[in-house]
Symmetry: C2
Subunit: 427 residues, 2 copies
């Protein structure tokens, strides 16, 4: 295959005509496919149906301390749930608070709390002229939406396969007291599937923030979400690393079972130092009488322990690995030698990050939509929805069936080709 | 029986000696009883165990629109849950948003949202010098804790059996733009069990607030929580009343199934105008990917409709009515003619409000604690925990068993007598 970038104008025009013809044919099929969100497929949800059987009217709903899970009380989680999510988070149960069904909600509340009440006695952010957050890019759109919603200025930090540009992070964090946080998805990152290197984690743990209320928002959403048994990424546990570095309070680590059990009905947790957790609890004691303990018990009875979680995640992997491989195979064979794009090859998580030619992402997403394939909006992976190069597209292969995915990728590949040719013709 | 207030000093001294003797005997029994919180008893929780059976691995977990309740999505509740809680709230499903397991959390979030983002485009409260809330007293401690936590100034409004003093409410709301809200438990109020009269509701609906972002926080926590089949209170539906009065946006109405199904694992809802709900949704779309829809479905399948809810509440009533009657009987026979106290006789809800002689509430609660009976802290029913008369005590009869309750009330009555005699001797 000849690289598009080496084609003559005449060759490009011929190619454009061919591709346009194909595109019109596909449009005529009136497809309706969705590759936009990191949602598990129905077959994955079925894996957890046993969870609906572990509790029935014959089961004693008291937790191991004898507290009735059905009633009010126990603000920060039943002990067995703390143990389970502690294992998943690689921290002792005492460093865990269990929340409701959404870790995103916990992150939102952490920002909201910092705005109105400040972090561990520091000035509430709403009283400050300026609050800034560092945002490794491309990154998770829902993180950026939270900080945007609270009027927090976001600063792009380039990502490499080792994690964020730590020179830049260290410089900004140590020099600017308005920098109060950084959003991280440290393992199988959203959208690249990168895992922060040992050195990156060590440098995070040793940060010397200008702001005493600077926190690392460590969203370990994909901690056990491997695609392969043999080819797994390893992430250094950050809480221990921070404690060793004399920085025990610098990090909030978030996790949840959203893509382990049911996305809408899982349990979420925060792992942090005891001082940080006490700060969280002060807020929680006013905010709620407690989260859903019956659902906590349901998760413990279904998964039992870390081995149970891993065994369960292997079943997820068996279902989604073929989807990742299908997408990667199509990209490799159709686009691999054209010199117009690049993409990641994750070992876990939910996404593939795709970089088109500069100025093409929006056009590709729009073309795909016109042909009935919904992709994550171009720009969504950047703060304010603004990808400065208009290049990045997040591919989410898990939700469609294999058959739908094959169709969707075909459309995607075609749109990439067509938009790239048109871009090259513009010059 | 002779009124204590008519006794001579000598008579009082003799009585004091008698009562002290009884008190010492009871203390020697080392009791451990709890009448402090409005928690359902274990027998009440057992009523909802069928809820653990309606979902099992053989049940289709899609809601009526075909959406898979297990997955992400549906920010504001599945239609059948909106219908069920709409019926419970006496409003159309379109005026309902379904939340997680705690209506207190929804109220907290409403205040937090108003602080950081303002109400329907108005200035965020955190940018204002002063924000005030009206607090009918005695009232619900958890309400007052929320407004205190956000530094909102609270103003006591006296309650009568018709509701808050509406002359005072109208005056403050119409004259002071810093007054942004009022906490109401309009039916079977916490702690008196009063229900706002038709006139009170009508006056609420016709308020002319100086602040465009003033809202009535209508916590209808006990809407269907009757104690009797034949002797029920009736509350005028506030949303319709406000709409008729040309004030559709003035009220947020909160409800939940916390004391219907399981307190820790119910579902909560807000009923409000569409403009208000859109304001809520703007926040929710950033805050979460959605609440637990599987639990919503579980509630709908178990209760089915309003008839199902009412039938279920009758079973609750059968269990707690004898507890209320036991307490009232003990108060009537032991304290009824002593001229030292007063209490309410609710037709529903979870509490009896008890007024001791001025300056005696703290002493009574302390004495009871010393004898092994935990009561709600004296003062808890007032903002800042400060009961100006030190008189009000909230009695929560539902959680202990009948046997425990009989013992606890005996201790309570004795402490009331003893503290009252000591008070009279002080003069």
């Amino acid at each position: 295959m000849k690289k598009y970038t080496q084609m003559s104008r005449e060759e490009l025009l011929t190619l454009q005509q061919e591709l346009s013809g194909e595109y019109e044919k596909i449009k005529a099929q009136s497809l309706s496919l969705d590759m936009s969100r990191g949602k598990p497929g129905t077959d994955q949800l079925d894996l957890s149906m046993g969870m609906m059987d572990v509790l029935h009217s014959g089961v004693d709903l008291r937790c191991e301390t004898g507290v009735d899970c059905r009633n009010y009380g126990v603000i920060d989680g039943i002990p067995e749930a703390k143990r389970l999510l502690g294992q998943m988070s690689e921290v002792p149960p005492d460093n865990i608070i269990i929340y409701g069904n959404s870790s995103l909600n916990v992150m939102f509340d952490s920002i909201a709390r910092s705005m109105t009440h400040g972090v561990m006695g520091n000035t509430p952010w709403c009283k400050l002229d300026k609050v800034k957050f560092l945002c490794p890019v491309p990154g998770y759109d829902r993180h950026f939406k939270i900080t945007e919603f609270f009027g927090i200025e976001m600063i792009n930090i380039p990502m490499s396969e080792n994690g964020p540009d730590m020179d830049m992070v260290e410089e900004l964090v140590s020099s600017d007291p308005a920098v109060k946080g950084i959003w991280c998805v440290p393992k199988y990152s959203n959208p690249q599937g990168y895992t922060y290197s040992e050195e990156t984690v060590a440098r995070f743990a040793r940060l010397k923030p200008a702001a005493p209320d600077f926190r690392i928002y460590w969203d370990n959403a994909y901690s056990i979400h491997h695609l392969y048994d043999d080819n797994q990424d390893f992430l250094v546990e950050i809480l221990g690393e921070c404690a060793k570095a004399g920085n025990p309070d610098i990090v909030y680590k978030f996790t949840s079972t959203s893509k382990v059990s049911f996305p809408g009905s899982g349990i979420a947790a925060v792992a942090a130092s005891k001082a940080n957790l006490e700060d969280f609890r002060k807020y929680m004691r006013i905010q709620t009488i407690g989260h859903d303990k019956v659902n906590q018990l349901r998760h413990v009875l279904f998964f039992k322990d870390l081995d149970g979680l891993h065994a369960h995640m292997r079943k997820h992997a068996d279902l989604i690995r073929p989807k990742f491989e299908l997408v990667l195979h199509a990209l490799d064979t159709e686009l691999g030698e054209l010199g117009i794009c690049d993409w990641t090859r994750p070992h876990g998580g939910y996404f593939i990050s795709f970089d088109a030619m500069e100025g093409c992402a929006k056009a590709i997403v729009a073309r795909a939509k016109e042909a009935g394939v919904i992709l994550t909006g171009a720009g969504a992976t950047y703060p304010y929805g603004k990808d400065p190069l208009d290049s990045n597209i997040r591919i989410a292969p898990t939700y469609p069936s294999i058959e739908e995915l094959a169709q969707a990728v075909k459309v995607f590949v075609l749109c990439v080709k067509l938009c790239s040719v048109e871009k090259l013709l513009e010059v």
